[in-house]
């Protein structure tokens, strides 16, 4: 089925399946026509007459077989002819019914429908003329990413293994037409059909909930289109290491990432805040910051989520007590271990909930996590609670509970992947944030908050090259241009645009929060935070030479040749 990508194969499949019915029809017609040319007829006087000629016989059979029935033409038939015509009528009806039944069966055939759907999908992907991303896996994470991409007006193509999810995608109210295919993205043929290798494909996001599938996708992309950015979700450290070994561009392990964030929140709450600001979904409101206290922590659960969390907590000089039904040997030495689920007060009391400052409800069962958190909150109302929410569907419950930190794996992956793959400079900036001290981050937060209010800003990057900034590149050949022009409104030069320049990368060296007086160079890459509206305004300065001229000189230059000539003659006042 993999090679049946083009619409030509649909045609061939129909031809192949229709072979037998068509031959049956031809044979039936031939027998009928031949018979009519042999059976003697009768003339108007009842005298024997020669049989019909081929021409008349074919004419008669043609309208009889299709049940049109014009009567006996050219003369009334003899009884012998009528006898033969009875045979012909039944023969041809059988022949036609057989053909039609075969055709109907073909249309209902699952394989045939698959070929049709595949051909339509491949055609839609081929005809994409805008840059697009290839999203593999459209579960909770994938759906979040798709919705956000749609919100940002970015085209995307979806491959998802479950048919029901693809159908659900059709019901989503996307702004653009989204080609989606129910297929296994692990097959390179499917990936190519979905646009891997397409000139406009900007990147691949492997977001399925199966580590092996993500691994297969990542390796296929690396081999087939080595330069294409690929982002893969990995839940086990082993897969993560495997992916890194062949150079996957971005790997996101939601559990390790959350543990990192928790550690960062303890150590540098403002840095954490800044990262949240930048990786959130644009337009989202962020709750005020809460700093996890240091002291005695209880961690319930000991799976892939809890292990990195325990490590992070221990790294930040916090005492940790692990509550897990597993035997104590499984827990790393140096941690207290209490056997149990943590859903009962007795277990939590044994773990010392009254003296603890924080609790992590980190089992892979949402209801248990809520039960643990609520029981603990009853026993010690001042407890700082981190809850793990496995399913987005349980959103309402976790919202009602209001944990201090709620960890949703799919959301972490979605936010990170959007931030890193859509704005490649973001990864560099986030790494910078992690390196800098907390005080610096606090400063940065204030700057961002001034511009965007309490809402997550849109972050975009700008490259100073002939394609995305033709006006600037042209101007640079005439004289220097400072960053200032990208921060002013082209409508009124005095008015500053509500945006913050985050990063400037020039020949591999990066400058965080570049000064407004910095001179731009061709080849620079910049990262800005602001809103979609501001971004559009900034685009004018990048691409429109007249707008840029005004921003530089404060004067409106005439655009047309005639007007330029006229103004050149009369001195400007």
């Amino acid at each position: 089925m993999d090679s049946m990508g083009n619409s030509g194969s649909v045609f061939f499949l129909i031809l192949r399946r229709m072979r037998v019915p068509l031959i049956v029809l031809i044979v039936i017609y031939a027998i009928s026509v031949l018979g009519l040319t042999l059976v003697p007829g009768v003339d108007a006087n009842g005298q024997p007459a020669p049989a019909l000629s081929f021409f008349h016989a074919f004419y008669f059979i043609s309208y009889t077989a299709t049940t049109i029935g014009f009567g006996e033409i050219p003369n009334a038939f003899s009884d012998a002819q009528r006898l033969w015509v009875i045979v012909c009528i039944y023969l041809t009806v059988i022949g036609w019914s057989y053909s039609i039944i075969t055709l109907l069966a073909l249309v209902q055939d699952k394989a045939f429908q698959n070929v049709l759907v595949n051909a339509r999908f491949a055609r839609r992907v081929r005809h994409l003329h805008e840059p697009f991303y290839l999203v593999c896996g459209c579960g909770e994470t994938g759906a979040l990413v798709c919705r956000a991409l749609d919100e940002l007006n970015i085209r995307f193509v979806v491959i998802e293994s479950r048919e029901a999810r693809v159908q659900a995608l059709d019901l989503e109210d996307f702004k653009t037409d989204v080609p989606a295919l129910a297929a296994d993205a692990q097959q390179p043929g499917i990936l190519e059909q979905a646009g891997l290798g397409h000139a406009k494909c900007r990147g691949v996001l492997a977001l399925t909930n199966d580590d092996n599938a993500n691994l297969a996708i990542a390796i296929a992309v690396r081999l087939l289109v080595p330069d294409l950015p690929v982002l893969a979700r990995a839940e086990s450290p082993m897969t993560e290491a495997n992916m890194a070994s062949f150079g996957t561009h971005h790997i996101i392990n939601p559990y390790a990432r959350f543990a990192d964030y928790l550690g960062l929140a303890i150590e540098a709450p403002n840095s954490m805040r800044l990262i949240e600001w930048l990786t959130g979904l644009p337009g989202q409101h962020l709750p005020p910051i809460r700093r996890p206290p240091t002291g005695k922590w209880i961690v319930c659960g000991h799976g892939r989520f809890s292990r990195p969390v325990i490590r992070q907590l221990a790294d930040h000089a916090v005492q940790v007590c692990v509550v897990t039904p597993e035997p104590g040997g499984a827990v790393a030495p140096g941690f207290r271990h209490v056997a149990g689920l943590g859903t009962e007060a007795v277990t939590l009391q044994a773990a010392g909930v009254e003296q603890a400052v924080g609790l992590v409800a980190g089992t892979d069962h949402d209801v248990n996590n809520l039960s643990i958190a609520m029981t603990a909150k009853d026993l010690n109302p001042s407890l700082f609670i981190v809850a793990r929410q496995n399913w987005v569907a349980n959103e309402a419950l976790f919202k009602a509970f209001e944990a201090d930190f709620t960890m949703v794996p799919s959301r972490i992956v979605a936010h990170e992947s959007l931030a890193t793959i859509i704005t490649p400079l973001m990864a560099a900036f986030l790494a910078e944030v992690r390196r800098r001290p907390d005080v610096w981050a606090a400063d940065a937060c204030t700057r961002l908050e001034e511009v965007c209010g309490g809402v997550v800003p849109l972050v975009w990057d700008v490259e100073i090259d002939a394609q995305s900034a033709p006006a600037i590149v042209h101007q640079l050949t005439q004289g220097p241009v400072s960053l200032q022009v990208l921060l002013q409104s082209f409508e009124n030069r005095e008015e500053a645009l509500e945006l913050v320049p985050l990063l400037l990368v020039r020949e591999g060296a990066s400058m965080v929060f570049p000064e407004t007086t910095t001179a731009l160079c061709a080849g620079d890459a910049l990262l800005f935070a602001g809103s979609a509206e501001v971004r559009e305004k900034q685009r004018m300065a990048l691409s429109n030479a007249n707008a840029l001229e005004y921003l530089l000189t404060g004067q409106d230059h005439p655009a047309g040749l005639v007007w330029q000539w006229l103004t050149a003659r009369s001195p400007r006042t």
Binding site: S9, F12, L13, L15, R16, R17, M18, R19, L22, I23, I26, V27, Y29, A30, V33, L34, T37, S53, F54, F55, H56
Partner: protein
Amino acid sequence: MRRYARRGREAYNQKILTASWGAVMNLEKVVFAFFILLAATLNFGFFIGDIARPELHSIYELFAAIVVSLIATVLKFGDRTQIGAIHLATSLVADLQLIAAAVTWAIAVHVTEVGMTVHVTSSVVSLSGGALFANIVSVVILIIETVMMRR
């Protein structure tokens, strides 16, 4: 041979049988070659003889040639190989020529009613001659294919 239990024996026989059949003939290929050759021979039978004498060219033979040629065309449907495509093309050419011959005959006999004059007969027969050429190409391709597939 004693080592084979009854079912094993059956399977063994089956294997011998299918292996020998598979090596000797493939029913689809037989049918295919049969119709291609039959189309060519019928066509030849109609074509042979003085081009201007209607009594040497039976209209029944033309009818048979058209029917067999149509069946041969349908048999070639759905083959996506390069050779399959050429087969289909030559067959379509033959159909077209034969149908043109039949239409010429029908017009002469039934529409204009000039009957089988020398002119009409020779044009019907020469059209079938064109079809014969296409059919010969088909046969040649069939032979080439057979030789190519032989290992």
